[in-house]
């Protein structure tokens, strides 16, 4: 599938954000800020992190707050895609209701998001 690595990267990062919020009992926003604050400034790592949070943060907050998991978030933000004829790739156990309806609901949540107007840039 195209962009398998982007999908793995997204699921790992969103998982870490979700688990930081869980471990510190904080909001998703605070968890993203915390993660960026841990990164060194070298190689623009910290500033790149804050830029990514600015672009994708609002959608990630909405989706995680609606109890969507990292698989759903990354498919909704199109870092993961199920190519035609390909299996659906997911790291976590599937949600109780069907994957299709979960994804549809998630897409409704971010429907008005300016982010998804951009092509899914790396």
């Amino acid at each position: 599938p195209s962009n398998g690595h982007a999908c793995v990267g997204c699921v790992v990062v969103v998982s870490v954000i979700e688990q930081l919020a869980q471990v510190h009992n904080s909001t998703v926003r605070a968890s993203m800020e915390r993660l960026c604050s841990y990164l060194p400034e070298k190689l623009f790592l910290k500033s790149t992190c804050y830029s990514v949070v600015r672009v994708f943060g609002p959608d990630i907050i909405k989706l995680l707050s609606a109890d969507m998991n990292a698989d759903v978030v990354c498919h909704t933000l199109q870092f993961c895609q199920q190519d035609p004829g390909q299996a659906f790739c997911h790291l976590y156990p599937l949600p109780k209701e069907t994957w299709k309806s979960t994804l549809e609901k998630a897409r409704q949540i971010v429907k008005k998001s300016p982010t998804l107007k951009y092509s899914r840039s790396g």
Partner: protein
């Protein structure tokens, strides 16, 4: 999105791309393939240059006029003993048979490692990502801690040494004479470009011990059906012979090539599949089986053949690995070269596991936790120690002599300029 399209970054991007493609140091003023900076193929990968404005001063060369006036081979030994006017390099190193270590390998040999604290929320802190810039500019490899050329103290507290440190302890004249030419994704089939980054002059340099350790990518790929893309024994034989001919024409006489066989990677599934991956430890929801399935589904698995729930596929992968190992065995026994001799050694994960279990360790503790595939630092050092023991016992001629002047070298030159 492509930061390299910015005009003022185009040149530096070009240089970095060239460094990554050709596996040569990014910063190398005298273009002798040795550097004074650590990452981007610098001294984490090859002995540190002691004079980056003189291309005739580099690790591993025979001394220029016994290094009376300068340290031409970067082993920290130079000058003249005032007591008798004899150059130190002549007094301490002449006849001691110095030699270097060169690794031709893949991500295992480069010591690919993603620290688990980078993805474990419960352990994460300001300190977690301190090494991230250095690791990124070394392509997520840590050759400075690898089994073949590592020169830093082990982070896992093991007392075992890398092959390079063993060689240095045996003869301090070998100081800084190491080259880690391993590369992520390297296999017998794509070695041409990497091997050109090897730095050795048959006339002016000391002999070398070359370790050929392509231990996975000839049978590992991310395809849903990985078998068709595996290297065939015929392809393997052809490329290995091509590599050996290249080495024979580029290495000083008296060099040695150690051909490492491929491992039986069923070890991974057997000891990891039902354990939790770092991402799954908080909520006990992601096992390595699930992690492998996810990577396999996306076709980005490091080795779908072994990282698979399909027992038949795992066995097929090991079968091909064994076929390729047998090719290496046959080559080592039957092929002769003018400047080098060939030795074969098994990549014996079981032996490493037994050694580790004797110390109370568990097999799963020998594998990188984040990628669930690469041998970790413990495994690499135990493997190196096993190879060193084997060479000492069976092939002492490979190692050169123990230098009786080591204590004097240490007394006069201390750490010889370090690494």
């Amino acid at each position: 999105s492509d930061i390299c399209s910015l005009p003022f970054l185009a040149k530096i991007c070009e240089k970095i791309k060239s460094t990554l493609k050709n596996s040569v140091p990014f910063r190398d003023v005298d273009s002798d393939k040795y550097s004074v900076s650590p990452t981007l193929r610098g001294y984490h990968w090859r002995g540190r240059d002691c004079n980056d404005s003189n291309k005739m001063a580099y690790p591993g060369r025979r001394p220029d006029n016994w290094d009376v006036h300068q340290d031409s081979n970067c082993n920290g030994i130079w000058g003249v003993d005032p007591k008798d006017g004899i150059p130190y390099e002549k007094k301490f190193c002449e006849g001691s048979e110095p030699r270097g270590i060169i690794l031709l390998g893949d991500s295992a040999g480069a010591h690919f490692h993603i620290p688990p604290e980078w993805i474990t929320a419960s352990q994460m802190s300001l300190k977690s990502f301190i090494d991230l810039p250095s690791a990124l500019t070394d392509e997520l490899n840590w050759p400075q801690l690898s089994g073949a050329t590592g020169f830093l103290n082990s982070t896992s507290g093991l007392k075992e040494n890398s092959i390079y440190l063993h060689l240095r302890n045996r003869n301090r004249c070998n100081h800084r004479d190491y080259q880690n030419l391993a590369k992520n994704g390297a296999s017998s089939q794509n070695l041409e470009r990497i091997i050109e980054s090897l730095s050795r002059n048959p006339r002016s340099d000391h002999p070398a011990i070359v370790i050929y350790a392509m231990i996975g990518n000839d049978v590992c790929n991310g395809k849903i059906d990985p078998v068709p893309k595996m290297t065939t024994p015929e392809q393997f034989y052809s490329k290995v012979m091509e590599t050996l001919k290249y080495l024979n024409s580029h290495l000083p006489n008296g060099s040695h090539v150690i051909l490492y066989g491929l491992p039986d990677g069923t070890f991974l599934w057997d000891h990891l599949h039902n354990r939790y991956h770092p991402l799954g430890q908080l909520n006990e929801d992601v096992t390595y089986e699930r992690f492998y399935t996810f990577l396999g589904c996306l076709q980005v698995s490091s080795c779908h053949g072994w990282m698979s729930s399909n027992k038949t596929l795992r066995a097929l992968t090991s079968e091909r690995a064994e076929q390729l190992s047998n090719i290496l065995k046959k080559i080592a026994i039957s092929k002769k070269f003018t400047n080098l001799d060939l030795l074969y050694v098994d990549f014996d994960l079981q032996a490493v596991m037994k050694k580790w279990q004797k110390r109370g360790g568990q097999p799963w503790q020998l594998i990188e936790p984040v990628d669930g595939f690469h041998p970790n630092e413990v495994a690499l050092l135990l493997m190196a120690d096993g190879l060193w023991d084997k060479m000492q016992l069976q092939w002492p001629q490979v190692l050169g002599k123990e230098n009786p002047f080591n204590p004097q070298i240490e007394q006069v030159f201390g750490d010889q300029g370090g690494h």
